[in-house]
């Protein structure tokens, strides 16, 4: 499998580049590849071009941020999903297993309910995600006499449900004409309102969270063994786990705070990467990031072009994700038995 990695990663990178070109080109205002190239080249060299200024607006103000956001958020959610699946030794967990999504959602919904500005909604979402995971982590560690992994997952489920009822209460109390649509929109997730300013805040946070994950990528394998085995191999499991949980939470919270909740990517993409390259984390991580970016970019492009209204990408990821996941499940099963 070693020799498959460069080929597969290059193929995934090529796929991402092609998808990015398509995403820039298609839409209500279509731009041909040569026009796109002219505008980009002019921007790079600082020259002017002869095309109307609408092209600049569409490429740099409307589609550019959206394409970059899809790449960052897709990679972030897929990477965090791979981390959590590996750490919890369970291929069925997703980045929101420790309540980061429900925490972020409650924060955002609260901010919408209080009629705060966009920036505050994002800030509340980010803080909500971090607070929820910190809460789960400390409660989970305080519950003694259980397998620490099981305690964390169960605490995550319970706290997530509690936060969910908080969200339901806010929706019930919200102004149905003004606030409720905004809440629903946020809960379904969307990349349509992302501005360059959002990206300047969120993408560094995603990168900061990915750095420790990338540096510790080989040691993540040892973390997928039982705690006893990992500790006997010389790993300080408790310390490593808190670093990894903090990093993955930062990545997810930063992504979710600007996009709203987009499900399925963190569950589906690590599976696909594991099927293609095997579970060894150092080999799997780059492929996971690239595939996550490609998947969200493809889904978002479909979401804004396939109908006259925008389809929420969260709905599309589930529509495409469900059959794909079931197929992966069947494929993984038959492979491991072979």
């Amino acid at each position: 499998m070693n020799q498959r990695l460069p080929t597969l990663s290059l193929a995934a990178l090529a796929l991402l580049v092609v998808l990015a070109f398509i995403a820039f080109s298609v839409g209500r205002f279509s731009i041909s590849p040569s026009e796109l190239w002219t505008v980009l080249w002019a921007k790079l060299t600082g020259n002017t071009h002869t095309l109307p200024s609408t092209y600049d607006a569409v490429i740099f103000q409307i589609r550019g941020p959206r394409v970059i956001a899809a790449i960052f958020i897709g990679a972030a959610l897929a990477g965090a999903g791979a981390v959590y699946q590996n750490m919890f030794r369970n291929p069925l967990v997703s980045p929101d297993i420790l309540g980061v999504s429900s925490g972020a959602a409650l924060g955002a919904v609260l901010a919408i309910f209080l009629s705060l500005p966009i920036l505050a909604i994002q800030g509340f979402a980010f803080a909500g995600g971090l607070v929820a995971v910190a809460m789960v982590y400390f409660i989970g560690n305080a519950v003694r006499g259980h397998d620490p992994i099981l305690a964390l997952i169960l605490t995550g489920v319970v706290v997530g449900t509690l936060l969910g009822s908080g969200i339901a209460m806010m929706k019930y109390l919200a102004d149905p004409y003004n606030q409720l649509p905004a809440i629903t929109f946020w809960l379904l997730g969307s990349l349509s309102s992302i501005t360059p300013a959002d990206l300047w805040i969120a993408s560094p946070l995603v990168l900061v969270g990915l750095v420790p994950i990338f540096l510790l990528r080989w040691r993540m394998n040892v973390l997928s063994l039982s705690d006893d085995e990992a500790r006997a191999l010389g790993v300080n499991v408790a310390r490593l786990r808190i670093i990894i949980v903090a990093s993955a939470t930062l990545v997810t919270a930063a992504a979710v705070s600007i996009s709203g909740i987009i499900g399925w990517i963190g569950l589906l993409i690590p599976h696909a990467a594991r099927l293609l390259i095997g579970p060894e984390f150092a080999r799997m991580l780059p492929l996971t990031l690239l595939l996550g970016a490609s998947y969200l970019l493809a889904v978002d492009t479909l979401a804004r072009t396939m109908a006259s209204i925008e389809i929420p990408p969260g709905v599309l990821t589930a529509l495409i994700g469900t059959p794909l996941f079931l197929w992966l499940l069947a494929a993984t099963n038959s492979r491991s038995k072979a």
Partner: protein, 281 residues
Amino acid sequence: MAARGHEFALESVTVNASLIEARALAYGHPGRTLGRDINLDVAEGEVLCVLGPNGGGKTTLFRTLLALLPTHSGNISLRGKALHDCTDTERARMMAYVPQANNTYFAFTVRDVVLMGRTAHLGLFNRPGAKDIAAADVAMNELNITHLADKTITQISGGERQLALIARALAQESPLLIMDEPTASLDFGNQALILHEILRLKASGRSVLFCTHDPDHALQCADRALLLHHGNVLALGVPREVVTAANLRTLYDVEVQLIEDAARGHAFCRPRVRAVEAPPL
């Protein structure tokens, strides 16, 4: 007086030669002490077998020796250094843990699993290099599982998986291997294979501390046997001397006949299975 001095000298020699030593150890799960006054040591190149019924505290004792559970009282030392003063890396370089070969792993290749044994020799951010890959290859070669290197750990048999985990412990390059029921859930042939590997590990100068519930395993490949009864030491000594019908009756609550094969110098155990009389017609 002279005899005491001699005894003292002998004891200090033992201390120096011990890889691991427990003195007046009380162990158990937090809040529930299972056994007290445990004194044991494993010398360089020695095989010590812990015998006892299921639920008798074998695994808990091993987890305590591996510093995976805190001691309740008493001391454990590794080559004379207190266990709680050792760093994670120091511990891992002194003793390697071979868990029971269950199947809860991701589908790692056998080579990747064996490479994980190199963790204690790698920096926090390092990946295994050429030297580590070579060490893993040597370990797999020693256990004759090189042909399994590219197979996944989930698709090989239980016996092969146990060998892979032993190879991982060898790649760790620790002088002491602690094996938790290495023969459990293996078939007849694979059990014999694992016992053979334990003898080979001893022949290569390594020490092995393993546990089993089969007294024949202690008779076949251990230098000394420790009989663990409800968490406490019932007997510790040469297997032929401590694996007796009386001790086994205490341990397992069963009548055992020890059959001697004087010609080969072997002995083996045969539990008496109470016959059932045919019901009257």
